[in-house]
Amino acid sequence: MGFLELEGLTRTFAGQRAVDGLSLTLQRGEVLALLGPSGSGKTTTLRLLAGFEVPDAGRVILEGRDVTPLAPVARRFGMVFQHYALFPHLDVGANVAFGLESRGVRGPELSRRVAEALSLVDLAGFERRAVAKLSGGQQQRVALARALAPEPQVLLLDEPLSNLDPSLRERTRRELRGLVHRLGMTAVVVTHEQEDAFDLGDRIALLRGGRLEQLGTSDELYATPASAFVASFIGRASEVEARVISTDVAEVEGARWPVRWAGPGPAVPGAAARLLARPEGLRLVAPGAGRVGGAVTGRRFTGPVAFFSVLTAGGANVEVAAPPEAAREGDVVGLEPTGADLHLYPAADA
């Protein structure tokens, strides 16, 4: 039995299933990232956990106790809101004290715990500041301190980094991960950025259309994507039409490539299939018989490697990672697997 369990959660808005029979289990101290494109139901899931939405079906269970009928007030999950939702008319200290006061903490104990929470997020001594005068990163940390101060059993974070600019974002993410792990918090983080999910989540639940597409660590999601959707959402991947030869061989434009059959269902030799190739799964070689041939149509330089766009003879656009000097625009090249997994899916899998 897990610490926090979601059992068949379902929520329908105007006939649309925003969350559709979602079941997940978190262990104590685990951080789960809810990842998915917009409209995948991740925020609704978080709001169901917090109690702001009431599920049409399913339960939320905390330490074996059904908390589904509890109002947010009684549930006392800490929450960090996307735009922070700091109380604009209260100063930093009063914002952080708000949740503690709800629990009856008063007097010197109150000031002590407010100071403690603020020093957790490196804002010691900020009590009397006005929240509107803080920078975006500081506001985010006040929101975190406010959620943590009443020592919630579960911390919920709704896109906690989406309002920060890129450089600040990376640092804040590191600090956030360190803090959550140091406190041993059980946490659920909603994000649409895979980097945030990789970095913050012990495990990642990839959602699509309100359903769980795949649950696993970042390595698992990258190396063994359960569907073409996962493969293309996590990391970069180019799609090429292929034909199944066996569970570990496919034919691509006349060439035979070693692949990993990822299902769903058994591999049917001769059936049409979709091959998803990571940029590092292919390399540029000289054109030749038995190789997929193509022309370089573009080159994007990023430093140690460059990404080459190759238009194959069969009309597919493929992205290949290679040393920056490997080719120039307009070159005619051949493509060859590097041995890293190429993932094969049935053509019908949308």
Partner: protein
């Protein structure tokens, strides 16, 4: 609160608002079509056959149009001057120029009377200097009405236009000149289209205010009738059936104008585009030019402040001491002392205070409920609630006075009517209805700016409903609450148009006492009341300006 319960409360609010606002208006319509012997078009025929009615309708219409044009002609150049040109004293004068808005309509009219009326300062001065037998002019008729309107209503154009200009992105002007547009073309193609929503808003506000204007035509009209005064005189003659038809005509004119306007200008879409910094100020070229502009601006400010100063001056003139002299010979604070010391003088002050307070409190309460139900709960009745809350804005005060008098003159519980005419309840009720658009708009806007996540954050931090409302919602709404409540309060405090039709001797408000004092020749007392109202309005205005600069 469950969605179901919120839904029911929404319909309950609709019912209350419909009873207070839509029902009386419908009643006016019906009573104009009813005679002693049932349904009849008799009163409508009488209305249509009297040329004076058509003349009054036409007067209302053209005076309102002319007021809008004249106000725009004054307000827009002023806005450009104060927003775009730098000269000494710009900031202070920029505030002073908005001061005519601080005068309640009746007080503004009285101040004008003291200044430019046939026995006013200006007239006496000219008479004295030229040694004339009689006052050199009579401030009467349409021209006088138009002047008073322009004096008080250019402020709408000035404020709206200044706000739009300050929101304009300076880079837009630079882009226009980089694209080779000269000053004229930039003004025509870039600046004016940008101002369009502001100009349209100000024009509508001026038109509707003029159409509903009562004080100026009542005091300065003489024999010249507009619809609002026509209704009151018909009513005073006891011709209730005809008054109902007249009221219907005025209401239809107002609603028709509003509908036409909305069709011609469906929503200002440009308003939200501006982002970035306002264009820099143009410095007037030479030192001479700058001194000239500054001098002209100061002169203008003095001219605009003269009515206020006149009012203040006259308020210190003891009763009966100023007869034929060009300037009052004696000054004393006696009038103010009399307001407090004499129970008969104090009474209207207390009346207005309690009635305005009660009406404002009730209007704020209704607006709070409306805001919560419309914005937060999004009840099915939202559009109806919002429409009903705004409706009294479009309907002239005179119409509402007649409508309420009609609704509450008969005891008929099954028709939800009872007798309130002649009681102390009718005026606060009328003020309440007239206050709803202002408080409603302020609180709906307040609720819309309030991030719903704030309430969720409070809940996630363990705060119950009561604590969330007390600690989070109300403080966050405080600026909107303050803005709506203070504006409503001063409007009710200075109300004349509904009061004159619904007051009783015991509930007479300040405005009627001003009128009474004027008729008895106690100009000093009338002015003292006016100064009090002006001061109350100024305080509210200052508070509002402070609230805006903080937000």
């Amino acid at each position: 609160m469950t969605a179901r319960r919120a839904g029911w409360l929404g319909w309950l609010l609709v019912a209350v608002l419909a009873w207070l606002i839509a029902y009386p208006l419908a009643l006016v319509l019906v009573e104009g079509l009813r005679g002693p012997a049932g349904w009849t078009l008799e009163e409508v025929r009488r209305f249509a056959s009297r040329s004076s009615e058509w003349e009054a309708l036409w007067a209302s219409l053209w005076l309102s149009l002319a007021s809008a044009v004249l106000s725009g002609a004054i307000g827009v150049p002023l806005a450009f001057l104060f927003e775009r040109v730098d000269f000494p004293g710009r900031k202070l004068l920029g505030v002073l120029v908005a001061l005519p808005a601080v005068l309640p309509p009746l007080v503004g009219v009285v101040a004008f009377l003291f200044l430019y009326g046939e026995t006013g300062f200006a007239g006496r001065l000219v008479q004295h200097v030229l040694g004339l037998e009689d006052p050199p002019w009579r401030l009467e008729g349409p021209v006088a009405i138009l002047l008073v309107h322009a004096y008080s209503m250019y402020v709408y154009f000035y404020l709206f236009c200044r706000a739009a200009l300050s929101r304009m992105d300076g880079a837009m002007l630079e882009a226009a000149s980089a694209l080779g547009a000269g000053r004229g073309r930039t003004l025509r193609r870039v600046v004016l289209p940008h101002l369009r929503p502001a100009l349209a808003g100000a024009a509508l506000l001026t038109f509707m205010t003029s159409l509903a204007s009562f004080s100026a035509p009542y005091i300065f009209g003489g024999g010249y009738r507009v619809m609002t005064t026509q209704i009151v005189f018909t009513r005073l003659n006891g011709d209730d059936g005809l008054a109902m038809v007249e009221t219907t005509a005025l209401m239809l004119l107002a609603l028709g104008a509003l509908a036409l306007f909305r069709r011609a200008d469906p929503g200002g879409s440009l308003a939200g585009v501006g982002k970035g910094t306002a264009p820099g100020l143009a410095r007037a070229g030479s030192a001479h030019a700058r001194a000239g502009i500054a001098a002209a601006a100061w002169l203008l400010a003095v001219l605009l402040l003269l009515p206020h100063l006149t009012l203040l001056l006259v308020s210190f003139v003891p009763v009966g001491t100023w007869t034929t002299e060009p300037f009052p010979p004696v000054f004393s604070p006696g009038n103010y002392a009399a307001l407090v010391a004499e129970p008969e003088r104090l009474r209207p002050l207390l009346n207005s205070l309690w009635m305005a307070t009660a009406a404002t409190a009730a209007a704020v309460g209704i607006a709070l409920a409306g805001g919560a139900l419309v914005v937060r709960k999004r009840v099915r009745a939202s559009r109806l609630i919002e429409g009903l809350l705004g409706l009294p804005w479009a309907v002239p005060g005179t119409v509402f006075a007649i409508a309420l008098a009609a609704l509450f003159s008969v005891r008929a519980p099954w028709a939800l009517r009872t007798v309130l005419v002649g009681t102390a309840w009718l005026l606060p009720l009328a003020y309440l209805i007239r206050n709803l658009p202002v408080t409603g708009r302020a609180l709906l806007a307040g609720f819309r700016q309030l991030d719903p996540a704030l309430e969720e954050a409070a809940a996630s931090l363990g705060a119950g409903r009561a604590r969330t409302i007390r600690r989070i919602v109300l403080p966050a709404l405080a600026p909107a609450l303050a803005a709506g409540a203070t504006l409503a309060f001063v409007t009710a405090l200075g109300d004349f148009v509904t009061s004159i039709m619904l007051y009783t001797y015991d509930t007479r408000p300040i405005s009627l006492e001003i009128l009474g004092s004027l008729r008895q020749g106690d100009v000093g007392v009338a002015a003292a009341y006016g100064v009090l109202l002006m001061a109350a309005s100024a305080v509210v205005f200052a508070l509002g300006a402070r609230g805006e600069s903080r937000a």
